[in-house]
C-alpha cells in the first residue's frame, strides 16, 4: 500500500515535470469525457423537461384524434374525402362520457391561430377552445377571476380566459379582467387570468394562448361541428392502457365500424408518448456511447504513445531503479500507475469541463441540463480502464528492460 502511494507520488511528479506534454496527452481524454458527460447532461435535462412538459399538459391523459394516419398514408388522395366522415364530434364525446368506466372526465379541444385585439393593440395567438373540463385536463390554473363554466359552454358565452403572454402583449399594466377583447373581430369578455406556465422543452411559450368555450368557438368563430381532438383522463396511471382500449371499443361502436375494418380515429396515451421519448433518448445514448468510445480510443492511443516516449526517455532511470533492487513488477506498476493517473486526471478535467459547459448551456440557451452521478462514474471508470489498457504495453516494455542495457543507454 505504501509502495503504491509512492508510485502515485512518482507518477504525479513525472507528469508535473512535463506539464504541457501531460496536458496535451490528456486532451483526448478531457474532450472525450467532457463531451460525453456534457451531452448526457443535456440529454438527461431534455428528457426530464420533455417528460415534465408531457405531464404538464395533464396527467394520465388519453388523446383521441380523428383519422388513422397509417390508412391515410396508404390510400393517398382518397383519404381526403373520407376524412370528412372521420371527424370527432359531440356524439363521440358523449358516448365516451356515458360509457367509459375507466376515465374521470373528458373534454373536447379545438385549437386555431387567431388575431386578438384590445383597444388599438392587436396580436396573434393560439385559441384553445374546450369545455369546463379542459381546465383540469390541460392544466390551466386560474390566477385570478374564473374559468368558464358548464353553463358558459352550453350557452356559447362570449367569454375568455387569457395567458400571461397575451396579457403582456395586449394590456401591459392594465387589469384585463372584465375588459372586452376581440377574437377574429368578435367581442369576448375576459373573465379570468391563467397562471404562468413558462416554456416547454422545445422553447415554446406556453402562456401565449387564450381559451374560450368550445361551443362558442364552433358556432361564432370557426363554423365547425367537430373537434380537433378529445382529451380524456384515466382513473389511474396503471389503467391508462385499459382505458385507451375501452375508449377505442366505445368509439368503434358509436361510429359503426364493422369488424375487420380499420379505426378511423387514433387513441394515444401519455405512456405511449413516454415510451417514444424513451426510444428517442435510447438512440441518443447509443450515439453518445459511440462518440465516447471513439474519443476514449483516440485518447488512449495518445496515452500509449506518450508512455512509450516516456519509457524510452527514462531508460536510464529504469536501469538505476533496477540496479538498486526494483523488481520487474515495481517498474510495471510505476508506469501503469502513471498512465492511469494521466487518464484519470484527464477524466476529472473532462468532468469539470462538462459541468462548466452544461452550466453555460442552461444559462444561455433554452435547454435545461442536468448533471447526474451515473455518467460521471461511468466516465471515470472508463478512463481508468483506458489508462490501464493502453498503459500496459509501455509498462511491460519498461519492466522487461535489461538493467545493464538500460544503464548503458545514453
Amino acid at each position: 500500500m505504501k509502495r503504491f502511494l509512492e508510485n502515485i507520488n512518482i507518477a504525479f511528479r513525472a507528469l508535473f515535470l512535463n506539464k504541457m506534454r501531460s496536458f496535451l496527452t490528456m486532451l483526448g481524454i478531457i474532450i472525450g469525457v467532457g463531451a460525453v458527460v456534457a451531452m448526457l447532461s443535456i440529454g438527461t435535462g431534455a428528457q426530464e423537461s420533455i417528460i415534465s412538459s408531457v405531464q404538464d399538459i395533464g396527467s394520465n391523459l388519453i388523446i383521441i384524434t380523428p383519422g388513422n394516419p397509417e390508412e391515410e398514408q396508404q390510400m393517398g388522395p382518397q383519404a381526403m374525402f373520407s376524412a370528412q366522415t372521420s371527424e370527432l364530434d359531440n356524439d363521440d364525446l358523449r358516448a365516451i362520457e356515458r360509457e367509459s368506466t375507466l376515465i374521470t372526465k373528458a373534454a373536447p379541444v379545438i385549437f386555431s391561430g387567431s388575431i386578438i385585439s384590445y383597444m388599438n393593440k392587436s396580436a396573434q395567438t393560439t385559441v384553445y377552445a374546450s369545455s369546463e373540463n379542459g381546465k383540469d385536463l390541460y392544466n390551466m390554473d386560474i390566477e385570478s377571476g374564473q374559468f368558464y363554466t358548464r353553463s358558459d359552454v352550453s350557452n356559447s358565452a362570449n367569454v375568455a380566459v387569457i395567458g400571461q403572454t397575451v396579457i403582456k402583449k395586449l394590456f401591459g399594466k392594465i387589469e384585463p379582467t372584465g375588459k372586452i377583447i376581440k377574437i377574429d373581430g368578435k367581442n369576448f369578455k375576459v373573465i379570468g387570468i391563467l397562471e404562468e406556465r413558462g416554456t416547454d422543452s422545445f422553447g415554446n411559450d406556453q402562456d401565449d394562448f387564450i381559451s374560450v368555450p368550445v361551443t362558442t368557438a364552433q358556432t361564432k368563430l370557426y363554423g365547425l361541428d367537430s373537434y380537433n381532438m378529445i382529451l380524456a383522463q384515466s382513473i389511474s396511471e396503471k389503467d391508462i392502457d385499459r382505458a385507451s382500449e375501452e375508449i377505442r371499443g366505445i368509439l368503434r361502436k358509436e361510429r359503426g365500424i364493422a369488424m375487420g375494418e380499420n379505426d378511423d380515429f387514433q387513441v394515444r396515451n401519455q405512456t405511449q408518448i413516454m415510451d417514444l421519448i424513451g426510444t428517442i433518448t435510447g438512440i441518443f445514448t447509443v450515439v453518445i456511447a459511440g462518440i465516447a468510445g471513439i474519443s476514449l480510443l483516440v485518447g488512449g492511443i495518445g496515452i500509449m504513445n506518450i508512455m512509450l516516449v516516456s519509457v524510452t526517455e527514462r531508460t536510464r532511470e529504469i536501469g538505476i531503479r533496477k540496479a538498486i533492487g526494483a523488481k520487474n513488477r515495481d517498474i510495471l506498476v510505476q508506469f501503469l500507475v502513471e498512465s492511469i493517473v494521466l487518464s484519470i486526471t484527464g477524466g476529472i478535467f473532462g468532468i469539470i469541463f462538462a459541468v462548466f459547459i452544461s452550466v453555460i448551456i442552461s444559462k444561455f440557451t433554452i435547454l435545461d441540463t442536468s448533471i447526474t452521478v451515473v455518467p460521471i462514474i461511468i466516465a471515470l471508470s472508463f478512463s481508468t480502464v483506458v489508462g490501464l489498457f493502453f498503459g500496459i504495453y509501455p509498462a511491460m516494455r519498461a519492466a522487461r528492460l535489461n538493467p545493464i542495457d538500460a544503464l548503458r543507454y545514453e
Binding site: 513525472a14 538505476i320 540496479a323
Partner: protein, 261 residues
C-alpha cells in the same frame, strides 16, 4: 553498518567466490568474449581494487558480481548463495539487500533531490523498514551532505553527487560496496575525498570492491587484482596503503581554496 562478519573458524570467510567465470557478449553473429575464466576469492571486510586497461572486462566482472548480469558459464557464490540459480526477482532482492553500487557517472535520479535519491533502495525493500527517514538522514550525514538534503543532483558538484551515490549505496546496510571507477569523473582532490570515505567505510567493516585503471587509486586498497583481456594475469598485495586523509592534508592550501565546493 559496522559489525564485522567473521566465520566460526576465526579465519575471514569468503564473501565472494567465482569459479571459471566466462562472459561472452553476442552482437548478432559476432561473439565478444569479455571474461575468459575468472577465479576470485574475496573475504569479508576486504578492500580490493580491480585494475586493468579500458576494455579489459572490469565493468563486465563488476556487473556479474553485482548481480546485474549473469555469467555465460562458471559459478558465482555470494555469501555462499549460488547466484547462477536465481531468477530475476531473487537477483533484484539481492541487489537491494546485499549490494551497494557506486558508478563512474553517478547515476542519480535527476528529478529527485538528495533525500529522494538516498531513500530509493528503501522503497524497493521487501522487509518493513522502521525509522526509514532516520536511516536516510543518517546515511546523508555520513557523507556530510546534510545541508544539501533538498537539492537536486544538478545543483551539486561532481564530488557531492558521488557522495550522494555512496549514501544511497549505504542506506540499506549492504555487505558489499561495488564502485566502478568512482573517481573517474572527478578531479584529483575530490577523488581523494571519495577515497577517504571508502577507506573509512572499510575500517568500519564494509567489504569494498573498486574498479580503476589508475595505479594511484588502486594503491589505496589492500589488494590489487589485475585484469587483462578477460583474464587475471596476477595480483598484488599492497602493504603500505596510501591514506587518503594523509594526502588531503598534504595538498596545497591554494588548491584547497580554489577547489572548495
Amino acid at each position: 553498518m559496522n559489525e564485522k562478519k567473521q566465520s566460526g573458524t576465526g579465519e575471514l570467510r569468503s564473501i565472494i567466490r567465482t569459479r571459471e567465470l566466462v562472459k561472452v557478449y553476442k552482437i548478432g553473429k559476432i561473439e565478444i568474449p569479455a571474461l575468459k575464466g575468472i577465479n576470485l576469492d574475496i573475504s569479508d571486510g576486504e578492500f580490493i581494487s580491480i585494475m586493468g586497461p579500458s576494455g579489459s572486462g572490469k565493468s563486465t566482472l563488476m556487473n556479474i558480481i553485482g548481480c546485474l548480469d549473469i555469467p555465460t558459464s562458471g559459478e558465482y557464490f555470494l555469501d555462499s548463495v549460488n547466484i547462477g540459480k536465481l531468477n530475476d526477482n531473487e537477483l533484484a532482492a539481492i541487489r537491494n539487500k546485499k549490494i551497494g553500487f557506486v558508478f563512474q557517472t553517478f547515476n542519480l535520479l535527476s528529478r529527485s533531490n538528495v533525500f529522494g535519491n538516498v531513500e530509493l533502495p528503501l522503497i524497493y525493500t521487501s522487509e518493513r523498514v522502521k525509522d526509514r527517514r532516520k536511516r536516510v538522514l543518517e546515511a546523508i550525514e555520513d557523507v556530510g551532505l546534510t545541508t544539501w538534503i533538498r537539492h537536486r543532483p544538478n545543483e551539486l558538484s561532481g564530488g557531492q553527487k558521488q557522495r550522494v551515490a555512496i549514501a544511497r549505496a549505504l542506506v540499506n546496510n549492504p555487505s558489499i560496496i561495488l564502485a566502478d571507477e568512482p573517481t573517474g569523473n572527478l578531479d584529483s582532490r575530490t577523488g581523494e575525498e571519495i577515497m577517504a570515505i571508502f577507506q573509512r567505510l572499510n575500517r568500519d567493516g564494509k567489504t569494498i570492491i573498486l574498479v580503476t585503471h589508475e595505479m594511484e587509486i588502486a594503491r589505496h586498497t589492500h589488494r590489487v587484482i589485475y585484469l587483462r583481456d578477460g583474464i587475471i594475469p596476477g595480483e598484488e598485495i599492497i602493504n603500505e596503503q596510501i591514506s587518503a586523509g594523509e594526502v588531503l592534508r598534504r595538498m596545497p592550501k591554494l588548491e584547497d581554496k580554489l577547489l572548495s565546493y
